[in-house]
């Protein structure tokens, strides 16, 4: 839902980042307002997953330029845990298994960390159990998964449901979902997407990172951005995704080539 007067939640300006000194993001700009659903599409290696990790604060990525404001605050200055506490959420493409740590306990500690930041009362074990049982319905998850170790031995679909369950508990303002559709069969996709749709509201925003149109058949984006070689090449409405589905990414290559050569020329010009 686009409302031009809605508050800006996330403002990314000319963001540049490297991993192991290899530049991956080469100037990404994106503004996300409350109530909006954005989709970033692109092929493998386009930098779209890197964008999500940089926003969440993954230590392997180094920001080399640009800025990110989260509700006006310098997001990049914050530790990953602080970003989460103030309402940024990253749904992982490959959720991590943590043997020995109970899923229920993990969810409770995480939820309380967020609540504490919001000035709400911490939930004790009983109050939390009530809450988590209610939120399980968002993703139709079996309560048995609460008693297991975090993601350990979960199937791909169960892991993704567990991600959305976390999102339902943490109630983020900006949820970045990295390839949430990957590895899901059609039923699981419908359940996970249903969860995301239920959680979307006029006060929060969602950034979907995806490869395929099929996620966008079930979650309708307000904006679609096409990413390649570390930049956003085009932005449009939901029809852009359909166009991509039909024509493929070939035009992207031509566009990249054009961009790289102009920047090469520019560099030559500057050096010369």
């Amino acid at each position: 839902m686009i409302r031009s007067d809605a508050p800006v939640l996330l403002e990314i300006r000319d963001l540049r980042a490297s991993v192991e000194d290899q530049p991956i993001l080469k100037g990404v700009s994106l503004t996300i307002r409350a109530g909006e659903i954005h989709a970033v599409m692109g092929r493998n290696g386009s930098g779209k997953s890197t964008l999500s990790k940089v926003l969440a604060g993954h230590p392997a990525y180094r920001v080399t330029g640009g800025s990110v404001l989260y509700r006006g605050e310098d997001l990049l200055a914050l530790q990953p845990e602080q970003r989460a506490r103030i309402g940024l959420f990253l749904g992982f493409q490959y959720p991590i298994e943590i043997p020995g740590v109970s899923n229920l306990e993990f969810l409770r500690v995480a939820t309380n960390a967020r609540r504490q930041e919001q000035g709400s009362e911490e939930l004790d074990t009983f109050a939390f159990e009530d809450l988590v049982r209610e939120r399980l319905q968002v993703v139709q998850m079996d309560p048995a998964f609460l008693d297991r170790s975090v993601n350990e031995g979960f199937s791909g679909g169960e892991k993704k449901r567990n991600e959305i369950l976390q999102m339902a508990l943490l109630e983020p303002l900006v949820a970045i979902l990295d390839e949430t559709d990957s590895g899901l069969d059609i039923d699981a996709l419908r359940i996970v997407a249903g969860g995301v749709n239920q959680l979307a509201s006029a006060d929060n925003a969602t950034l979907l990172i995806t490869h395929y149109q099929r996620l966008l058949d079930v979650i309708t984006p307000d904006y679609v951005h096409v990413m390649a070689a570390g930049r956003i090449l085009r932005t449009g409405g939901k029809e852009l995704a359909l166009e991509l589905e039909e024509s493929g990414y070939d035009w992207v290559d031509a566009e990249i080539e054009r961009l790289e050569s102009t920047s090469a020329q520019r560099i030559t010009a500057e050096v010369g």
Binding site: A56, P59, P80, A84, P95, F106, Q166
Partner: protein
Amino acid sequence: MTSAATVGDLVSQPYKYGFVTDIETEKIAKGLSEDVVRLISAKKDEPAFLLDFRLRAYRQWLQMEEPDWAAIGHPPIDYQNIIYYAAPKQQDKKASLDEVDPKLLETFEKLGIPLSEQKRLTNVAVDAVFDSVSIATTYKEKLAEHGVIFCSISEAVKEHAELIERYLGSVVPSNDNYFAALNSAVFSDGSFVFIPKGVACPMDLSTYFRINSGDTGQFERTLIVAEAGASVSYLEGCTAPMFDTNQLHAAVVELVTLEDASIKYSTVQNWYAGDEKGVGGIYNFVTKRGQCRGDRSHISWTQVETGSAITWKYPSCVLQGADSVGEFYSVALTNNRQQADTGSKMIHVGPRTRSTIVSKGISAGHSSNSYRGLVQMGPKAVGARNYSQCDSMLIGDQAAANTYPYIRSQQPDASIEHEASTCRISADQLFYLQSRGIGFEEAVSMMVSGFCRDVFNQLPMEFAAEADKLLALKLEGSVG
């Protein structure tokens, strides 16, 4: 990268117990000889049988060589450069706590072990050992009402000589190994526990060992006997000041259970571990063994080893009685330059004996952590069973973890299971927890305590929380 540095910093919390008590100490001259052995025995006014025991051990020790099979390394120990007896100056053991030097009481209070009547730990009786001597034992009278003997081993030698003569050295013979022989020759104090037939000890018993002097070795001796149908839960804690020299600690613990008796022995070892460069720290060479003599008897070892520069220790069970049960639950954490070679031996002698080994090793910094264990099924151990599980967790990329399981079976109808795993706290796991709002340190401690849960569950309630905190403290600054 935030996590490389920070996880590293996490482990190196300053050692809280590194202070020295300034107290006048009576020490004998450095060095070991037959005269020194006689001197120690004379100081303690011991009966002839014990002097003989010591001298025999000393002569055996002279014939033995320091073992070199463990995965540890250290400069040679100069046994002539150690003081074998040091005691705070106070005449004899005081009948009442009021007469104990307040400095000593204060020391134990600082260590979290209040000995005075009003502040005592509820429902735990404590024997406090300072350098070479026991300074106080709480709740003695109350225990005596149940027929339970809980006192220092020096006292027991005088007051219960027949029990000492019968049981001392009966589980760990004086020539068992190099360090046991040394201990048998020069042991100075320790605790003695006797639970008579049919008595369930009404409270947990505990000994707190404190090394205070810098150049002293501590050689304590603990003996616990549970008669038929008796049971007891015993806890041992240890700390030492920070010195830049290495100190030797060579203890022997013997446990005996008769029919249907059970002993649960828990240790939280937090000797000074040396600094981050490996300077100083305790060399901890310990022989602990229990003998399930009676049918259906039960011995359980639980240890949380976090301190010492070197830990060399294999709490074991000899399962003689039919259907007897041995257990070993261990968490060994090493950081910086610490080295641990620890594990257990389960010797199945009787039929249908059962044993369980659960070992969790956590290595951080540049440390090395080895599990070494033996499961032996004797020819009569029909239907005996063992289950071993050895898990290692690596923190950072400079630490080492090894597992050396030895299995010997002379009984085809015995079953032995061994499982082992190694894991690492990865940057991705930490990031995952952090990205859910969980702080870095809490994330590490969640993973470590999750890893150790099976062992912590075995600790007496009040100590499980302690152990959890201790590990978190020890890991402060180490994950990378």
